[in-house]
Amino acid sequence: MDTLILSRIQFGANISFHILFPTITIALGWVLLFFKLRFAGTGDQKWVEAYRFWVKVFALSFAMGVVSGITMSFQFGTNWPGFMESVGNIAGPLLAYEVMTAFFLEAVFLGIMLFGMSKVPSWLHTLSTFLVAFGTTMSAFWILVLNSWMHTPAGFEMRDGVAFATDWWAIIFNPSMPYRLVHMLLASGLTVAFLLAGLSAFRWLIGDRSNGVRATLKTGMTIGAVLIPLQILAGDFHGLNALEHQPQKVAAMEGNWETGPNVPLVLFAIPNEETRSNDFEIGIPNGASLILKHSIDGVVPGLNDFVAEDGTVLHPPVAPVFFSFRIMVATGMAMLLLSWSAVFFMARKKRGVEGLPKPLLWAMVPMAFSGWVATLAGWYTTEIGRQPWLVQGVLTTEAAVADVPAPLVASTLIVYLAIYAALLAAYIGVLFYLARKAAKGEPLGTRIPASGEAQVTVAAE
């Protein structure tokens, strides 16, 4: 394999590993703030229990996100120097603002949030929790601005192969940014919803009957049930936006080769780039035209429009985009089914968690990571869907890669993969270990002081 494909695998592996953890921390920060405020409002100990457990998950996820994020900030330079040399004038300030407005905020206040509970007044601890949640969200904002700009670049001009900013407002609010940001923030909310419910269901199944576990299970499934229809709607809007700006991506997602009306919605197929058609296609007639153009004879773009005269393919590889899109949608449908039936059973006769049938609880445990599956599949759809471009229409991926010997990239890739696999196993293992420990009622070593208590310790110093 050559340096280009190895570098792509390496960056893909890093960013896939990285995104797992911010996806959790972005929404979990707000959920922790919710637990803390609920406790302040009701004085009910179950919210303390919930905070106590989930703050540990947050700390662990945050550390994983930080270290894998640092890795990526270096790989821009080590593997993709062409990216910064060509569009650095735009990407640079966006990344700089992410570091300055988000990273420091999160990192500093995380220390106070985790270890400062008895050292600072209660309001300052709550404020720190808020600032950490706010920081993670800011971080998501800036990085999605940059990512969206790579899909739908705007507000710049090219001089001698280098992009120069002409309108920062247009760069930040580029055409796909609002859709992508909403889609990702909702994805984060859903990931946390199902993680909350999944780990809580696991605790319930091994005999934990605490009010804390009831509260988190209910919170998780309720958030899930509320967000999933919003996400389906947001995803639809995002798809229409992509149709306008990156039709070749949508054509690959739909597995549609020829531009025309009455295009079917392909449920399953094996796209074949040799014959430029689908094998084993099963579809709903006129479905794609209906979804994308809201009329059965709507004209949907096809992949054959994106082949140059000389045969150069200017559309993304079809099969990976086609399949990852379907995995994302299928996971979303499973989320819809699970969360709505859970909410239904909990509301029926107001039985709460007791009303949930056992098979449903068992289904929640593997679905704890459904958010990860959907998020990764969604990112593969959009990022592979942008190929062969790194910045749509401006810079190809091939032009940005570093001139580093392939064996060097291959050997570091193997090391990274081994570490990521080990860390992922350790992470999931520790989540379930903590859940088992909490279910047995063993102390996790954390405690929230009752309101007023914190001030006393400060005064006593």
């Binding site: 106590r52 703050v55 700390a59 662990l60 550390a63 994983m64 930080v66 994020g69 640092i70 890795t71 900030s73 270096f74 330079g77 080590t78 120097p81 062409g82 040399e85 650095g88 004038n89 735009i90 990407a91 640079g92 300030p93 990344l95 700089a96 603002y97 570091v99 300055m100 407005t101 990273f103 420091f104 905020l105 990192a107 500093v108 995380l110 220390g111 106070i112 985790l114 270890f115 400062g116 509970m117 008895s118 050292k119 600072v120 120069f164 900013a165 920062w168 570093a402 001139d403 580093v404 570091t412 570490i419 860390l423 350790a426 293992g429 520790v430 903590l434 070593g445 405690r447 002081p449």
Partner: protein, 336 residues
């Protein structure tokens, strides 16, 4: 933009200064927490917990200065960023793996089942060593102009060891400040051992740099620069003497002056840093690329600068708040 004259002149300089500041803050702050990691095998089980407690609330923010530094290099000097990082591909990868290992170990060592704790302690130590050694190696390669010869490799191996010793030294002085009792006593001993490494390391770099680069030689040994620069080595020498005297008397019965070694080491790092910055200016890639050649477009630099001038004081402010909240001796670290 034109307030201070031609922005193509002063903006690169301003960003070089910001880059320097970030690197300096990083080396001091992450230096001490990496150093604590390097010292890990010398401590017993309870001492390890106490050592982690002394850096637990800070390490994450400390590492963020590295991200800022690499971010400024990337945004302000994109071509230098590419040249330097591709030339240092392997040591960067080693450092990243090290940072990953030690970063996650903070969490895993207390959350994983207790019989795994020892393994995570090792991961923390190995990660800290990998990070320190690779940073020292990169420093050496950078001084040598990123050229790979047998001599530059040997020189970089030496700087790798010395930077690791320097980190362990500032880590030990941090522990003198943040701990008490037997561990503090140990930290004083560690510092006494480490100080010779620091003297040798600073001496080696100071002597080697002018002799490998005639340009640096001229910058130091021409008149009147020689006399203007003389305070740098003189102050460093005086500080080392003071440090040695202080370490012989520490810890004092009422714990006075426990802050001194750490503070003096910071000043020492600052002096060393200025010496090096002076040697390299105006180059960002030694003897190849100046900050003026490598700088991004002024309009992009300007928009970052405005943000930086607002945000940097805030970052420093709330970082100071965190250090104030966790002032005093480190106690057992808990989420209480």
């Amino acid at each position: 933009m034109d307030l201070f004259g031609d922005p193509a002149t002063w903006l690169p300089l301003a960003f070089a200064a910001l880059l320097g500041l970030s690197i300096l803050i990083y080396v001091v702050l992450d230096g001490f927490d990496l150093g604590v990691g390097v010292l890990f095998p010398f401590a017993d089980k309870d001492e390890k917990d106490r050592m982690i407690a002394s850096i637990g609330p800070f390490w994450d923010a400390n590492e963020t200065w590295l991200v800022l530094a690499i971010g400024i290099l990337l945004v302000a000097f994109p071509s230098a960023h590419g040249t330097i990082l591709t030339a240092l591909y392997l040591p960067v990868a080693v450092m990243l793996v090290g940072l990953i290992l030690r970063g996650v170990s903070f969490e895993f060592r207390v959350k994983a089942p207790s019989h795994h704790k020892k393994a995570w302690d090792w991961a923390f130590y190995i990660g800290s060593m990998m990070t320190s050694l690779s940073q020292g190696y990169m420093l050496g390669m950078y001084i040598m102009g990123l050229e790979v010869t047998a001599f530059t490799l040997a020189f970089s191996a030496v700087t790798a060891v010395f930077l690791t010793v320097a980190y362990s030294f500032i880590g030990a002085t941090w522990l003198i400040l943040k701990t008490e009792g037997a561990l503090q006593l140990k930290a004083v001993q560690w510092s006494k051992g480490g100080i010779w490494g620091v003297v040798l390391g600073m001496g080696a770099v100071s002597l080697a740099s002018p002799f490998v680069s005639p340009r640096i030689f001229d910058k130091w040994f021409s008149m009147p620069e020689f006399f203007l620069l003389l305070p740098l080595p003189l102050m460093s020498g005086a500080l080392i003497v003071l440090l040695w005297l202080a370490l012989r008397r520490l810890p004092t019965s009422d714990d006075s002056f426990a802050w001194f070694p750490f503070a003096a080491t910071i000043v020492l790092f600052v002096l060393g840093f200025f010496g090096m910055a002076y040697s390299f200016y105006p180059f960002i890639v030694p003897d190849q690329l100046t900050i003026y050649d490598a700088a991004s477009a002024p309009e992009s630099l300007f928009i970052i600068l405005i943000g930086t001038l607002f945000v940097l004081p805030m970052i420093m402010g709330y970082s100071a708040l965190a250090y104030a909240v966790f002032r005093g001796k480190a106690t057992t670290l808990s989420y209480d």
